[in-house]
Amino acid sequence: MTNIGSYAERVKNFDWSISEKELAFKDGNVINIGWYCSDRICQLGMADKPALLWENAAGREKRYTYDDVRLTTNTIGAFLRGLGIGDGDRVCLFMDKIPELYLGFLGVLKIGAIAQPLFSAFGDEALRIRLSDAGTAAIITQRKHVAKVRKMLDQVPHLRHVILVDYDGRKPLRDREVAFSLEQAEPVQELEIFPTKAESPSVLHYTSGTTGQPKGVKHVHYALIAQYLSTKWVLDLQPDDVYWCTADPGWVTGTSYGIIGPWSLGVTQCVLDAGFSAEAWYRFIEKHKVTVWYSAPTAIRSLMKAGDDLVRKFDLSSLRHLASVGEPLNAEAVVWSKNVYGHPFLDTYWQTETGSIMLTNFPGMEIKPGSMGKAFPGITATVLDTKTYEPITEPGRVGLIAFKPGWPSMMRAYWNNEATYQAKFRNGWYLSGDRSSIDKDGYFWFTGRDDDVINTAGHLVSPFEVESALLEHEAVAESAVVAKPDEVNMEVVKAFVTLKPGFDAGADLELNIMNFIRKKLSPLAMPQEIEYVDSLPKTRSGKIMRRLLHAREWGEEIGDISTLEDDE
């Protein structure tokens, strides 16, 4: 029996109070995600239950019960409080998938500060932009990443503390740096939990848009209501499950469903802190007897490439439910996973801004491979006409995916960016920025982005951010960045550049530019191809016509260029 039972019945009788009641929350009460994911689970009698089974590429293992999670998050919270961090302060978590990342996240929330997780592969410029925008007060990081922090420290005067969780004493600490060892710190049995309320800010995730700098998506503690219930109904987590979410908590999936969802349900989850390897992944599933697996299309396609024979070398019979997120999951991958694992990966659709799953294929419902499924109960979803912003009623017609605002985990703001936030709403609908159609049975079918943002391996990359960084390279005069189709990652970054006089187009310069962007922004943002051009297509007013370059890459009809020249 699945947790959701009958989808139709759930939709008919839905109310968010279902989740509130299960979490014993009443309007006006204190609601603190850090407490809900640790202390409350202990109070429910699960203190000795494993919460986190962690291992890294070198085979090192750590194991935490829920009582360990309670204590360690108390300890981190107390340490931060001792540094003067508290209510509303932004604390950046800039680490690999080590236990301190997961526990630090809850520790930050317990003291009423705002957790700002950032993907540890971000380069110094990407980091600086996001810390500056957030006015971050402290960053928790590792030795291997601290060089990037040091490099831009002068430009972030508001950053009061750089906390190193693995300081080994071999070199002296530098300006603003402080060491903290979870293993050596005195455990804090009792911590006064900050009395956050439903609308108190909790998490600040940065996401990319077409224009302008990355946007800080502000979430609140009440988001728990949606994250808890969607984890229960979509991921179908049950008390004896061993859950594996492969996402990095630097991104929203890794926090909503890699920390908050499973731990608010008191489920055991495991984490593998290692790069991708099909063999290592299968070994991990076999070893921990993973039952529920939440991953991403890029990883699934990479597993497909690794072949069916490899699957047969491992005992993966523990798996009972698989789900996917990040980009549309192609029908072939759904069918393949059903054949090799005995269960299909079920696609889920949501965004950093939505905070929780919005459209999905539910366990037990008829799956249409390639479809994103139907709306989560309580979510009013539609597609809007691109000109009138009115809901499209005829099946199969493509429009903008939109949601009626008001679900618990909806973003509450873009940090410091009210105008962009307001622009996300039209005619009383939240605009996702994606396009799809809805078939006669109510299933959503993704067709593409409504803007120039590049979705590579499920992560959004802003062409503007890459173009700006390219212009800082000594050889680049002009740049335009678009998505290029890719078999595994769906899209990758491609750059068109014109060179300054004195620089020769060639393979060595291309590699130099690629590495420049990789280090400055991130490996995701690194152009996987650079095309040298004599000039870039521009509108009459001089703006670069990305859409024209995009159409060429995708083999699409370019149409009347004179129109493009006018309207950009």
């Binding site: 590429a57 291997k144 290692a274 991708f276 490439k305 393979a507 990789r518 996987q528």
Partner: protein, 81 residues
Amino acid sequence: MEDAKDVVLNYIIEEYLEEEDDEITYDTPLISGGIVDSFSMVSLKRFLENKYQISIPDDKATPEAFDTVNSIVALVKSFLG
């Protein structure tokens, strides 16, 4: 190809490691160890192609083939004949 091992090792140290990273050897897992991610593998492949004037097809540029300096050099060697 001893020299190639050092060329590749030094390039990885120079390009992908942070100053506080642990030392790596010819056998350190690079991809599965999280030192070089799948996106950065593209720039590493490009380096090898430029350096050794070879073309590595995408189906040969697998995470397994790029996982250690030794396996990378073996791959390069197979294209040098």
